[in-house]
Symmetry: C2
DNA sequence: CACTGACTTTAGAGCGCTCTAATCATTCGC
DNA sequence: GCGAATGATTAGAGCGCTCTAAAGTCAGTG
């Protein structure tokens, strides 16, 4: 039962300086391990600091230095593990740079998202990485006030905002080509709300369908498992003719769709083939076996961190866009030879 | 292509005060919407602020006020969606309190965890919520330096650190009782590394097994899907007699186990029944149908936030512990009547 | 031995805000 | 009409640190 003093933090640099018999400035240099401090003084200062139980107030240091060494990261939703992958990539990309990562969750609500971005900006983070920002470019630009930003999985026309994404248009086309190659002709697409800015997958789907002379079938959902399930249940209950293949906006939706199909006794892939997108961990599970289109989430995170660090490092120049190629991974849900 | 000025932030309260013809202190009062400002001045100040594009520097305000209105949250792992549930609970619990939430990920590495906690403390967050801290109590106490903290899913003997958890011992017993009730006698438990502080589920299992006169079978894994799968594959390859039921430390591990069983042609639940713990979203999916023990993750998050806010609000007194009762949810993986 | 020049150390002025105590304006009671 | 009471506003001293410029140290040099 250690008696942690309630008198809390009170030890300042000044105290350490007094204890060590040096100036506050010298303590500051030691704390930032500046090379221009003599070994003797350095140890003296460190010893005094340890003796007093000193811990620097980063708030004050940030205020004085105008560098926060913190990156703000905005995620759409923690329930979709693709963001956990992106997070891993970001921490890999920032490792060793001395930067700290702060996470906020936007929940696809432009109000919440902007509030989070403003918080980051008010805290003077060095940069903001947005993975799943659904609001408008104008509002984002206003909220950023010049803070460097990188958007993942989306292209934004804002000066100074870089983009790192996977080719969503190509992903949509890839799904259609794959299913068409398996002999499917009635291929539906379950995408997301009309107002959301993530339309490229749908466009890729539509373009590919048209090119193949097939008639598109679109249904909207909300990017969640529950949403995908609900929309499919409703469709099945409607008695409309069921497509032979479905391409879902993301894996979560695809899994929801598979659940609904299963509960109606429809077999995947024999009655209906399903293709998702994102290639999240659970899609790869043999218990699910969902064919998916890998978006290189981890790499996107790494790349975003890298681009961000370069920006912070002072690289000027116009906004850059880095686009990766998606990769189709065929699994049981679209494999005609599947048991 | 909006030209966001690169001269960035420069507008300070001083500027707004000058523009509005009032003192800096008045601007400060308006920004914190103090009631003791006349309506006339208030609008004048707000207009000037808007005209200049002023945004308060929260860093400075925090430094001066000694209140950061920020809670630091440490998660074990973003890939386990139980933490997304806890996060939801925390944001629900802090909603409307004007507090901001900052997330860090510890990855079950005491070094990383302590670093994150120190960061929070150096930033002078008002409190820290730890969901999945695996290090020692002493080191945590030292890193906290008196900052209020709440630990989720674990009881820690540190003065001033509250605990909010689900009864893990009971969870272990619940699993055994359920499986025993189904007629199982050879019930194995796949738990986590010996050094991790989460031992109560195992102890509950051991206690219940002993009470029923059954012989325990323990295997260690690492709380991940991959880990559960690997451990099961290895076990199956060893040729040892397979238990008729397995209770896994968490759902992720349980899913990994189910994957391994499936790949060896063993049917769940007919050949082996499987029970997980946490009741994460995917366990409830009909495609998985994993029997699990609900830990009320969301409620735990809410409760933790609530306890934290009370502490910050000045409630003194000894550390409290709030313990919830786990609930068994039977699904296909342990249902003998399952198809 | 005065004089560089390389290396250390420090004084002191901020960073942008909050907070206390004091000042200035009004209104009210008698 | 005057002091008290109430309310609105402000001066000014920090918060704990960083940073610039200046000042000390102490060899080595001619």
């Amino acid at each position: 039962m250690k008696q942690t003093s309630p008198a809390q933090r009170s030890v300042t640099m000044e105290d350490v300086a007094r204890e060590a018999g040096v100036s506050r400035a010298l303590v500051s240099l030691v704390m930032r391990n500046s090379p221009k401090v003599s070994p003797a003084r350095r140890t003296a200062v460190l010893e005094s600091a340890a003796a007093l139980g000193y811990s620097p107030n980063r708030l004050a240091s940030r205020l004085a230095s105008h560098r926060t060494r913190t990156l703000g990261v905005l995620f759409l939703d923690l329930h979709n593990s693709v963001f956990a992958d992106i997070y891993d990539g970001i921490t890999e990309g920032t490792a060793g740079s001395g930067n700290q990562v702060m996470v906020a969750v936007g929940s696809a609500d432009p109000g919440t998202e902007l509030e989070a971005v403003r918080s980051f900006v008010d805290l003077r983070v060095d940069g903001v990485i947005l993975a799943g920002y659904t609001g408008s470019a104008e509002e984002l630009a206003a909220a950023l006030r010049g803070t460097p930003a990188v958007v993942i999985t989306r292209e934004l026309e804002i000066d100074g905002v870089d983009s790192v994404l996977c080719d969503d248009f190509r992903s949509g086309a890839l799904a259609v080509e794959h299913l068409h190659g398996l002999g499917h002709r009635r291929i539906a697409h379950v995408d997301i709300s009309d107002w959301l800015p993530y339309t490229a997958r749908r466009e890729g789907y539509l373009h590919a369908m048209e090119k193949l002379g097939l008639e598109p079938m679109l249904v909207h959902s909300d990017m969640t498992e529950r949403g995908g399930r609900a929309v499919m249940e409703k469709f099945l209950a409607s008695g409309a003719e069921v497509p032979t293949a479905i391409f879902a906006h993301n894996d979560l939706t695809a899994i929801g769709i598979m659940e609904a199909l299963a509960s109606h006794g429809l077999s995947v892939p024999h009655d209906v083939a399903v293709v998702g997108c994102d290639n999240i961990e659970v899609a790869a599970s043999p218990l699910i076996g969902l064919t998916s289109i890998d978006q290189h989430a981890r790499e996107l995170g790494q790349l975003a961190a890298q681009v961000m660090l370069e920006r912070i490092g002072g690289t000027a120049g116009p906004a850059v866009t880095r686009k990766l190629d998606p990769v189709l991974l065929v699994r049981r849900s679209s494999d005609p030879a599947a048991g």
